[in-house]
């Protein structure tokens, strides 16, 4: 009964989304206030319907209704409740439903918090979102219906992917999707602006918070995935340049560029065409990532249902989103005339440089990711593009970006000179050089480059803030009051830039990591990375749906125990898979990392790693996202549109950033 209800709700949502698209767009075109006023209600209705469908699927998973094919294939009754719930989106059909839910959430958010938008613009944005949602809901209803029944139902489900039974990976998809799908809102704004043929400062101000919020989620989502890979896969890597990782990085790169170019639109009404294109490209790349992942066209470690039929459907959806919007772009973009002119050396110029470099990195990553299939298509050769290509091409593009990052915020709008900016940054530059030289002497060139870049970013951000609050030039109390009065957007930008510095320090630290794989029997130990590691014991334990083998490893330094670690390996009989659970002790400077390999002959193979600064990689991403969040809280963004001052509207708009 409940799955049928879900299926019905899904069909209803599809109809509502279609109505939402048609009525809103028609209403905006004909300036029909009555039609336009229907759009928020339809968006809410769609959210309620998709929400019901989603809850129905969650329910089917929770009660282990194995007559639902999706549940039978991806769940099992002994799995813990938490993973039965999160397993809902741990498979293809369920994740498409989650995608729809987030899309409906975006539409409803515009309906709820877009009160300050001109009614036609709001109707158009909701209409475009409705059109995209209708396509995806149709997909969720037909080619990948999660509510299909099977008869007779099996006694037990086939079990969920054991690797997905992990807290970080359980929340990874929703956060990632909030980022991916969130970029549908800037996309909808871009299409609406193209239809209207107008992009102005207010438009930039409306788009930016949505882009920023999506960017924060995407940053966290990517970091979560990377963290999971590090601690769960058991060999200590954090980024593999896997096609699926790349396809999440691509919208992040263009989305970062979008954030920055939207500033130029907002402040100077320039780069309009470019910003519109970035908004379209970012969402298109999000969709493209979905297509690449789900169609199985790329050779990736991320296994999803590799189904060319579904791939065809997503490709059609991708085409329906991208072709009309780019056609509209080709036809209407000439109408958007830039009004702000600027010198090459200016804040705008700096942001253009940022855009060029970020988009070049995106182009390089896209090329590397798509090269193998297209090489096969054109030349019939089978090849793969791996980390060496990406490392050697991204680094030369990232280096100038990092070099320019602290300088940009110090340049003035319209026309600037480098002199004053350099004057404020000389000590940061000096410190970065010192750090680089020390690292080069102690370790190797790559680490030195990384640490110097990191110091440059963090200290540059500090110099930016210090300059703004006139630290050490006026009394400290005045500086602090200036800090309190600083626009949070400026504070957020500095923190986000410093966050990248933290991540880069982590990556540089990882180049100094050392590892050892050895076979130990209980009682045996070895000296590794300055510590003594002893395998104390090996024990067996059973869990709800697995059997675990756990090792107890004691790490001692100078005769003193500094850590006791319990790496384990869980065997899931239903899924017939083994999962390694690493044990990591971190003091935020160094990770002591252990993973258990095969157990035989009364001993065990253990993998030991000494990872300096590893946690900084993800910590930095969190700092970046926090900076973005802080920037979202800025009054100027919150108040958004220029004309309202009354408190009621203001507080309503304030929820946009909440």
């Amino acid at each position: 009964m409940v799955p049928e209800l879900g299926n019905f709700a899904l069909a209803l949502a599809c109809c509502l989304a279609l109505t939402q698209a048609v009525l809103s767009l028609l209403g905006a075109e004909g300036r029909d206030a009555r039609l336009m006023s229907a759009s928020p209600g339809l968006a809410f209705g769609q959210l309620i319907a998709v929400g019901t469908a989603f809850l129905a699927l969650v329910w089917s998973n929770v009660v282990s209704d194995f007559s639902v094919r999706n549940v039978a294939e991806n769940s099992q009754s002994q799995a813990p409740l938490f993973y039965r719930i999160t397993g809902t989106w741990g498979n293809h059909d369920g994740s498409i439903l989650l995608w729809c839910l987030v899309l409906a959430l975006c539409g409803a958010a515009i309906a709820a918090f877009g009160g300050n938008l001109p009614s036609a613009l709001r109707a158009r944005v909701i209409g475009v979102l409705g059109a995209v949602a209708a396509g995806f809901l149709l997909f969720a209803l037909t080619a990948s219906n999660a509510f299909t029944r099977i008869w007779p139902p099996p006694m037990q489900g086939q079990g969920m992917n054991a690797l997905l039974q992990d807290p970080a990976l359980a929340i990874h998809p929703p956060i990632l999707y909030l980022g991916y799908v969130g970029f549908a809102v800037p996309f909808a704004f871009a299409v609406a602006a193209l239809i209207e043929g107008r992009v102005d400062a207010a438009w930039g101000r409306w788009v930016r918070p949505w882009a920023l919020a999506s960017w924060c989620f995407l940053t966290c989502g990517i970091a979560l995935g990377s963290w999971w890979a590090y601690y769960d896969l058991g060999w200590g890597g954090f980024w593999f340049w896997d096609p699926v990782e790349n396809s999440s990085l691509l919208p992040w790169l263009t989305g970062t560029a979008l954030l920055h170019s939207a500033i130029v639109v907002e402040k100077r009404e320039a780069l309009k065409t470019w910003t519109i294109l970035l908004a379209i490209a970012t969402f298109a790349l999000s969709l493209c990532g979905t297509f690449l992942t789900r169609s199985g066209i790329l050779n990736s470690v991320h296994a999803f249902a590799n189904d060319p039929t579904r791939g065809l459907f997503i490709l059609a959806l991708l085409g329906l989103v991208v072709v009309p919007s780019l056609l509209l772009f080709a036809l209407r973009a000439p109408v958007l005339s830039p009004s702000g002119i600027f010198a090459i050396l200016s804040r705008e110029g700096g942001l253009v440089l940022n855009n060029i470099l970020l988009c070049s990195i995106a182009a390089v990553v896209l090329t590397g990711t798509l090269y193998p299939p297209f090489a096969n298509l054109i030349g019939g050769v089978q090849l793969s593009v791996g980390a060496p290509f990406f490392d050697s091409t991204v680094l030369p593009l990232a280096a100038p970006l990092i070099l320019a990052m602290p300088l940009g915020p110090m340049l003035s709008w319209k026309r600037a000179t480098l002199g004053p900016a350099l004057l404020r940054l000389w000590w940061a530059a000096l410190a970065a050089c010192v750090v680089g030289v020390i690292a080069a002497l102690g370790w190797h060139g790559l680490a030195a480059l990384g640490f110097a870049g990191s110091a440059w970013l963090i200290l540059g951000a500090a110099a930016d803030l210090g300059g703004r609050i006139r630290l050490f030039r006026v009394p400290l109390a005045e500086s602090l009051s200036r800090l309190a009065g600083l626009p949070t957007a400026a504070l957020g930008a500095a923190i986000a830039h410093a966050g990248l510095g933290v991540t880069i320090a982590g990556i540089a630290g990882m180049t100094l990591a050392s590892q050892s794989v050895t076979f130990l029997r209980p009682g045996q130990g070895l000296d590794f990375a300055g510590d003594h590691w002893t395998l104390q014991s090996l024990t067996n334990k059973s869990g709800p749906d697995y059997v675990a083998r756990t090792a107890t490893l004691v790490v001692s330094r100078d005769g003193r125990t500094i850590a006791v670690l319990h790496p384990s390996e869980r065997a899931f009989p239903v899924q017939q898979t083994d999962v390694t659970d690493t044990a990591i002790r971190t003091d935020f400077l160094v990770d002591l990392y252990t993973a258990l390999g095969s157990v035989h002959d009364g001993g065990a193979e253990v993998r030991l790693r000494y990872d300096p600064l590893a946690p900084w990689i993800w910590l930095g991403a969190l700092v970046m996202a926090a900076g973005g969040g802080l920037s979202l809280a800025d009054r100027r963004l919150r108040v958004g549109a220029p004309w309202r001052r009354e408190s009621k509207r203001g507080s309503r708009a304030a929820q946009v950033s909440a």
Binding site: T273, L277, I280, A281, A284, F291, S295, G296, I297, L298, N299, P308, G311, L312, L315, L318, G319, V322, V323, L326, L327, F329, A330, A333, P334, L370, P372, P373, F374, N376, L377, V381, Q382, L383, S384
Partner: protein, 188 residues
Amino acid sequence: MALSLATRRRLMLVAPLGLAAIGGFGFLRLLDRMQTGRYDPHAVPNFLVGHPVPSFTTTPALPGRGFSSADLRNLPQPVLVNFFASWCVPCQAEHPLLMQLQSQSVAIWGIAYEDSEAAMAGLLAAHGDPYVRLGADKTGAAAIAWGISGVPESFLVDRGGVIRWHIGGPLSAETIAGTLDPLLRTYA
């Protein structure tokens, strides 16, 4: 011929659409090739293609039928070298296609990878023997020499002993018709 600024600007604005269209068309072709078995993203490339047969040897699986690298030179016709094992399910799925190829007088030389004589003989007795020559690779040394990543894998060796084509995985009717047959004609 110099284009006016406005025309160039227009062309530039159409460029994203053009790029997307090319990409989309490529994706469509790839999906089509995946469905017909002509494109496998997980296929492992073999670096021996275009090079002479590596130095290897097999033990005779059945009396007088074993072979080594020396036998794969100066051949009267191209040879399909097929790595297989009786314990491998995809190999059994592939077997009828090999029988069919044999009936079209394609020379197939088999290498049984880490297999016992009894199991192999049982398989061939039950489903037919498509192999002109048959060697056993009990230690896996030949498999390492050929750089295979699993069974079944097949190589097309031309008359001069140069590897011309490789497939990592079972043959399919589409691959035989679309790729192998033309190659056999080319190197005949």
